[in-house]
C-alpha cells in the first residue's frame, strides 16, 4: 500500500497497491475530478520522494493550486522543488508547432519521459505518477484522431512498466456511450488495472451524497494472495468536501 495507502478510507482500501494504470470515468452529472485531486495529493504526500507529472487540459494551474491547498498540499512548493511537473495544455497543441498532431504528442511524450527520468535520477524510492486530467480533451486537441491519442497513451503505459511509475487518466464515459465512438473508452478499459467510475445517484439530487463510486480491480486477478483479502468490485457513496472526500457505504450514515 505504499503508493496510495495511509488514507484509511474506503477508496484507498479498494485500490490495490499494484495498480499501474488507473482509469477514472465520470459523466456530466457526476464530475470525477475530485478523484484526481485525491490521487495527486497522495502521489505527492509523504517524504518518500514520490513525484507527479500533471498533464492539465481541463483546468489551469491556479485552479489545482487552490483546490489542493485546501486539501493540505501545496502544489507551488512541489512545483518549485520539481516534484510536480505541470504541463499546461489548455491551448495544446498551439498554432506555432509546424508538424501535425502526432509530432506534438511525440514532443509531449518526450517531456513526460524526461520528467520521469529526472525523478529516477534522484534515486528516490517513491513512485512517480503521470496524470492526464482529461483524455477526451486530448482527443479534441488531436481533432478527433483517436489513433494518435491511443498511441500516446500506449507510450505512457510503457513508461509504467519500464520505470516505477503509474498512469492515472480521467475520461468522460458518457461521451462514448453511443456505438459510433466507443473505441477510445474500450481501449482505456482494456489497459486499465483499476477502473474508478463516478456516477450520480440513481435517486436524484442529494445534498449529503454527491454520487456513487464503483471501483473495479482488474489487475488483482494476477496475484491470488490479494484475492484472498481483497475483493474485486467495490461500491460506495461519496461526498466531496473542500478538504477531502468522504466515502461511505450506502445507508451507513445517519
Amino acid at each position: 500500500m505504499e503508493g496510495y495507502g495511509g488514507g484509511g478510507d474506503l477508496l484507498s482500501e479498494a485500490m490495490c497497491s499494484g495498480a499501474r494504470v488507473v482509469v477514472v470515468e465520470d459523466c456530466v452529472d457526476a464530475p470525477g475530478a475530485f478523484v484526481l485531486h485525491l490521487l495527486l495529493k497522495r502521489a505527492l504526500a509523504g517524504g518518500g520522494g514520490g513525484g507527479a507529472a500533471l498533464l492539465a487540459l481541463a483546468q489551469p494551474f491556479s485552479h489545482y493550486d487552490r483546490v489542493l491547498r485546501k486539501m493540505g498540499c501545496n502544489l507551488s512548493v512541489h512545483r518549485k522543488s520539481e516534484r510536480l511537473h505541470f504541463f499546461d495544455l489548455q491551448s495544446f497543441p498551439g498554432g506555432t508547432s509546424g508538424g501535425g498532431i502526432a509530432d506534438s504528442l511525440a514532443q509531449l511524450y518526450n517531456g513526460v519521459r524526461r520528467a520521469v527520468e529526472a525523478n529516477m535520477a534522484k534515486e528516490s524510492d517513491g513512485r512517480f505518477t503521470v496524470m492526464i486530467d482529461d483524455v477526451s480533451l486530448l482527443e479534441v486537441a488531436a481533432n478527433g484522431s483517436a489513433d494518435d491519442v491511443l498511441d500516446f497513451l500506449h507510450y505512457c503505459v510503457t513508461l509504467t512498466s519500464e520505470m516505477n511509475c503509474s498512469l492515472v487518466v480521467l475520461v468522460h464515459e458518457d461521451i462514448y456511450s453511443s456505438e459510433d465512438g466507443v473505441g477510445l473508452l474500450l481501449h482505456l478499459r482494456y489497459i486499465a488495472d483499476l477502473v474508478i467510475r463516478a456516477a450520480p445517484l440513481s435517486t436524484g439530487l442529494a445534498a449529503d451524497v454527491h454520487g456513487q463510486l464503483s471501483v473495479v480491480n482488474k489487475g488483482m486477478m494476477l496475484s491470488e494472495q490479494r484475492l484472498a483479502k481483497g475483493q474485486k468490485v467495490w461500491n460506495f457513496h461519496f461526498k466531496v468536501k473542500e478538504n477531502g472526500t468522504e466515502f461511505f457505504y450506502p445507508g451507513s450514515r445517519h
Binding site: 456530466v28 475530485f34 479534441v140 468522460h172 462514448y176 454527491h210
Partner: protein, 381 residues
C-alpha cells in the same frame, strides 16, 4: 440552544443569520469594483445574467471566466429570452459585448433588447413576497415549515431596498419596451454573423481580440466583457457538420475566457448534434442549463402545477460553475418554471405542485392518505 428554544427560536435565529448574510453581500457589491461586477467567495467575481432570479439560483450570477451553455428547445426560441436579458444587462452596465448569431445582420437583434424597469417600491415589495417561497434563499440550510415563510417577507424587502440604494447589480427588464437607442450606439458592441461562415477561425479571432482587451486582474478595477453566441451549431452556419472544429473552438474559447475577465454564453440546438458530441459540449460547459417550452394547452400539466397560465417554459440547471473548488454545487431544486409576470418581466420560480384531487398520478396515494388523516384528526377533536 435551538433545540431548547423550539421551532420559533430556530426561525428567529435563522432570520438573524440570513440578515447578516444579506448585509454582507450588499456591502460586497458596494465595494469599489466596476459597475456590474460582484465579488464572491473563493476569489470569484460575478456578473449578472440580467434575470435576478437566475442570479440568485446560480449563487450570485454568471462567474467571470466561465463559459455558460444553454441547450435550446428545438421548437421555441425561449433561449433568446436569456440571451436578451444577458446582453441588455451588459449594455446597461456599460460592459463591452460581442454578439455572434447565425443571421445576416446580427445588429438588428440589438433592437429587440429589453429596457430596464424603473423599479417602484411597490413592485419590489410584491416580488419579495412572491419570491419568498421559492429557491432564492440559496443559502438556506434548514427547511422551514411553510408557516414561517411569512417572517422572511419583510427581511427580503429590506435587502431588496438595500440593493436599490446601491448601484444595481441586476435590473429587471421590461420585455415589451425596447432599450433606448443612445445606449446601443454609445456602447462598445461588436456583432459577428456566423451565417454562411465557412469556418470558425474568423469568430475565434474576433473572440480572442475581444478577450485580449480584458486581461484577468484580481481585485482592482474589474471591467467585465460579455460574449454571447447564439445557436453555435445551427444548420445555417457554413461550418455546420464540422463537429471537431466546433468542439475545439469551444475548448479554446474556454481557455481564453478562463484567463480573462469575460463571460461567454453559448446557446446551441443540441438536437442537431450527435449524442456523443452533445455530451462533449456539455462537458465543456462550466455552467450548463437547458430550456424547454411548454405546450400551450396541456391539461394535465395545468392541473398539476399552480400558476400554469403565466408559465412559458422550464429552465433546468444541470451544472453550476465553480472556481477553485472541487465541491459541486447541489441546488435545492434544479428545475424552475420560467414565467412572464404581467407579460413583461421574466421570473423564475420553483415548481409548486397544486394539490392533487386524488384521482391521478402516483403521488395521489400519498396526498390522499395525508388528507384522510387530516380529516380523521378533525373528527377526533
Amino acid at each position: 440552544m435551538a433545540a431548547a428554544a423550539g421551532v420559533g427560536g430556530q426561525a428567529l435565529g435563522r432570520s438573524s443569520f440570513s440578515r447578516a448574510a444579506s448585509s454582507k453581500t450588499a456591502s460586497s457589491s458596494s465595494s469599489p469594483t466596476a459597475s456590474g461586477v460582484k465579488l464572491g467567495p473563493n476569489g470569484a467575481a460575478f456578473v449578472s445574467s440580467g434575470i435576478p432570479d437566475l442570479d440568485s439560483i446560480l449563487g450570485g450570477g454568471f462567474l467571470l471566466g466561465s463559459v455558460v451553455m444553454v441547450m435550446e428547445d428545438s421548437d421555441a426560441p425561449h433561449h433568446l429570452l436569456l440571451l436578451r436579458a444577458f446582453m441588455a444587462q451588459g449594455i446597461v452596465h456599460k460592459q463591452p459585448l460581442l454578439f455572434a448569431a447565425p443571421m445576416k445582420e446580427p445588429r438588428t437583434f440589438l433592437g429587440a433588447l429589453p429596457a430596464p424597469v424603473a423599479s417602484s417600491k411597490e413592485d419590489v415589495r410584491q416580488r419579495a413576497v412572491m419570491g419568498s417561497g421559492d429557491a432564492r434563499a440559496s443559502d438556506e440550510g434548514l427547511r422551514i415549515a411553510w408557516q414561517y415563510r411569512k417572517y422572511f417577507g419583510d427581511e427580503r424587502t429590506s435587502s431588496a431596498e438595500h440593493r436599490d440604494n446601491k448601484q444595481e447589480f441586476s435590473n429587471d427588464f421590461d420585455l415589451r419596451k425596447p432599450l433606448e437607442r443612445h445606449l446601443l450606439n454609445a456602447q462598445h458592441i461588436e456583432c459577428v454573423s456566423t451565417q454562411d461562415a465557412a469556418s470558425l477561425s474568423d469568430l475565434q479571432d474576433r473572440c480572442s481580440t475581444f478577450i485580449s482587451r480584458h486581461p484577468r486582474k484580481d481585485g482592482g478595477n474589474l471591467n467585465a466583457g460579455r460574449i454571447a453566441i447564439q445557436s453555435l451549431c445551427a444548420p445555417q452556419c457554413g461550418y455546420f457538420g464540422k463537429d471537431w472544429d466546433m468542439v475545439s473552438f469551444i475548448r479554446s474559447l474556454k481557455a481564453m475566457v478562463r484567463a480573462s475577465n469575460a463571460v461567454a454564453i453559448i446557446t446551441f440546438p443540441y438536437t442537431v448534434l450527435s449524442d456523443s458530441f452533445c455530451k462533449r459540449w456539455q462537458h465543456l460547459a462550466d455552467t450548463l442549463m437547458s430550456i424547454k417550452a411548454i405546450p400551450d394547452e396541456d391539461k394535465d400539466l395545468a392541473k398539476l402545477l399552480t400558476g400554469y397560465q403565466d408559465m412559458v417554459g422550464f429552465l433546468h440547471v444541470h451544472k453550476v460553475a465553480q472556481t477553485n473548488s472541487q465541491v459541486p454545487v447541489i441546488l435545492e431544486a434544479s428545475t424552475f418554471s420560467l414565467k412572464l409576470r404581467k407579460r413583461r418581466s421574466l421570473v423564475l420560480e420553483r415548481l409548486n405542485q397544486a394539490p392533487v384531487d386524488g384521482s391521478s398520478g402516483p403521488s395521489s396515494g400519498a396526498s390522499g392518505s395525508c388528507s384522510s388523516s387530516a380529516q380523521s384528526s378533525q373528527l377526533d377533536f
